[in-house]
């Protein structure tokens, strides 16, 4: 929360006075919608072979811009500054794994969910691991990234397991592929994509919905109801005709672990 506020304050200093968000009419009149995506979280967004921003979020943003009948302008945001960007009106809405959290909702508004965010076990077929209960054993080594959210849970619920703590997710993936550890308990949404660089292992990804599933929506400036209401309708249509799931599977190489239940009431 402190980091969030500090980031917000910093962004205010950088961008000057808070710009008013553009209403739906202003976006239509301008002919361009500005969308923030985070290319540091592949395959949500990434740089493709032509060095252009591509990925799940840009594809969804394209579909939304098409429905709106305007041009799309993609703007790079990072994890610390994605909320300041939308709060300061630099982008019309922001994507980038915007999981809904009460603290964040104090600063920005959320649309209905775009996708779910899931935790689970990443392991290989040969490990014989079937669920969380199999992890609490001295024969199991879990590899995690130092300082991430699952570690206190592992220490308290799986005290028997050995723990190997590495510096980042790429090192974690490689350690798993090289057999330094049997499994990892962490976010699983991008795992099929990440592990596709190690095709010779028989990967097994086991969702653990009992740990809790969060939902990510699009973030819009607080109080920008004209845009938010329209986006909710657009997202409903994109869920209902299967576009979102199709784009998810195209980029994440696996179905969404928890389907977003969509309803005509919102």
């Amino acid at each position: 929360m402190l980091r969030l506020l500090l980031g917000f304050a910093l962004a205010l200093v950088l961008v000057g006075p808070v710009a008013e968000a553009r209403t739906l009419d202003e976006i239509l009149a301008d002919g361009t919608v500005r969308v923030g995506v985070n290319p540091n979280l592949p395959p949500r967004a990434l740089f493709n072979d032509q060095n252009e921003i591509d990925g799940f979020e840009p594809d969804v943003a394209r579909a939304i811009a098409e429905k709106l009948g305007v041009e799309l302008e993609l703007i790079q945001v990072g994890s610390p500054d994605r909320i300041p960007f939308v709060a300061a009106g630099r982008v019309d809405f922001v994507m980038g794994a915007m999981s809904r959290k009460a603290g964040r909702a104090l600063v920005i508004d959320y649309t209905v969910p775009l996708h779910s965010e899931n935790y689970g076990i990443v392991t290989t077929e040969e490990s014989g691991i079937e669920g969380l209960a199999d992890l609490n054993s001295p024969d199991v080594t879990l590899v995690q990234v130092r300082g991430t959210t699952a570690i206190p849970f592992i220490r308290s619920q799986m005290p028997e397991a050995n723990l190997l703590l590495l510096d980042n997710y790429t090192d974690r993936d490689r350690a798993l592929a090289q057999g330094r550890a049997d499994a990892s308990f962490d976010g699983i949404d991008s795992m099929a994509f990440r592990l596709s660089v190690f095709p010779d292992r028989q990967w097994k990804i086991i969702p653990s919905p009992e740990w809790g599933v969060t939902y990510s929506g699009l973030g819009v400036q607080k109080g920008n109801y004209t845009l938010k209401d329209w986006l909710n309708v657009a997202l409903y249509e994109l869920h209902a005709d299967g576009t979102i799931e199709e784009l998810w599977e195209k980029w994440f190489l696996a179905p969404m672990a928890t389907q977003v239940p969509f309803t005509p009431y919102f």
Binding site: R146, G147, R174, Q178
Partner: protein
């Protein structure tokens, strides 16, 4: 915005961190001992060897001195498994640090050999010293006196370099500090204490090395 230091929240972890300091001490000791032994042989080859063997050693030293330790350990930890050599975190870091230290210690000890003057050996021969006596009374006292300070420095540097091990899953002092930080968010307090542990480690090492140097090898020097 005033930040209130809360050391009380991290005091329960002092022993846990002391355990990390002990691992740091071990790693530095292992890296130094092996690095020193390899460096001694390589320094002798560099100075007195000939042909391909000498060139191989020079190539090794130049390569190691001009690549970062982090990259060297990364190679040992993550690239070697692809050719079938899977080393544990501790072993990979210890070997990487020892190999890295060996290159520096080769150069330091080579300088020691170079500092010997022809006249000293001639003088020993003139007064009828045997080969063993020459080494015992002329060569060793001279080399040790020259080498002791830079070797001590290298040991101190190695102690602090052990913090790199945290990246490769070794739960030494820095790694443990990160772990506590992730649970308590008391970064200032934790890293101050970690820094204090490193100061204690290096101060104790400096003092011990000073006394050894002073009383056994008559090295002139001060801890401060």
């Amino acid at each position: 915005m005033a930040y209130t230091l809360q050391f009380g929240q991290v005091t329960p972890y002092l022993w846990y961190m002391a355990g990390g300091a002990w691992i740091a001490l071990q790693l530095a000791g292992i890296a130094f001992l092996f690095g020193w032994a390899i460096g001694l042989v390589f320094a002798a080859v560099s100075e007195y060897g000939r042909g391909p063997l000498r060139w191989a050693v020079r190539g090794y030293v130049i390569f190691i001195l001009n690549t970062p330790l982090l990259v060297q350990i990364f190679f040992i930890y993550f690239a070697l498994p692809d050719v079938g050599i899977l080393l544990g975190s501790y072993e990979a870091v210890a070997i990487g640090m020892a190999l890295n230290a060996s290159a520096y210690l080769t150069e330091i000890q080579r300088a020691g050999f170079r500092s010997l003057r022809r006249q000293e050996l001639d003088a020993a021969e003139t007064i009828g010293f045997s080969r063993v006596q020459t080494i015992r009374y002329v060569v060793l006292p001279h080399i040790v006196k020259v080498l002791f300070p830079p070797l001590s420095n290298q040991y101190i540097i190695l102690t602090m370099t052990t913090s790199i091990a945290a990246i490769f899953g070794v739960e030494e002092l820095t790694g443990r500090a990160y772990n506590i930080n992730a649970e308590t968010f008391r970064s200032l307090e934790i890293f101050s204490i970690a820094a204090l542990y490193y100061v204690v480690l290096t101060f104790v090492a400096s003092t011990v090395l000073y006394w050894i140097g002073h009383y056994f090898f008559r090295v002139q020097g001060k801890v401060f």
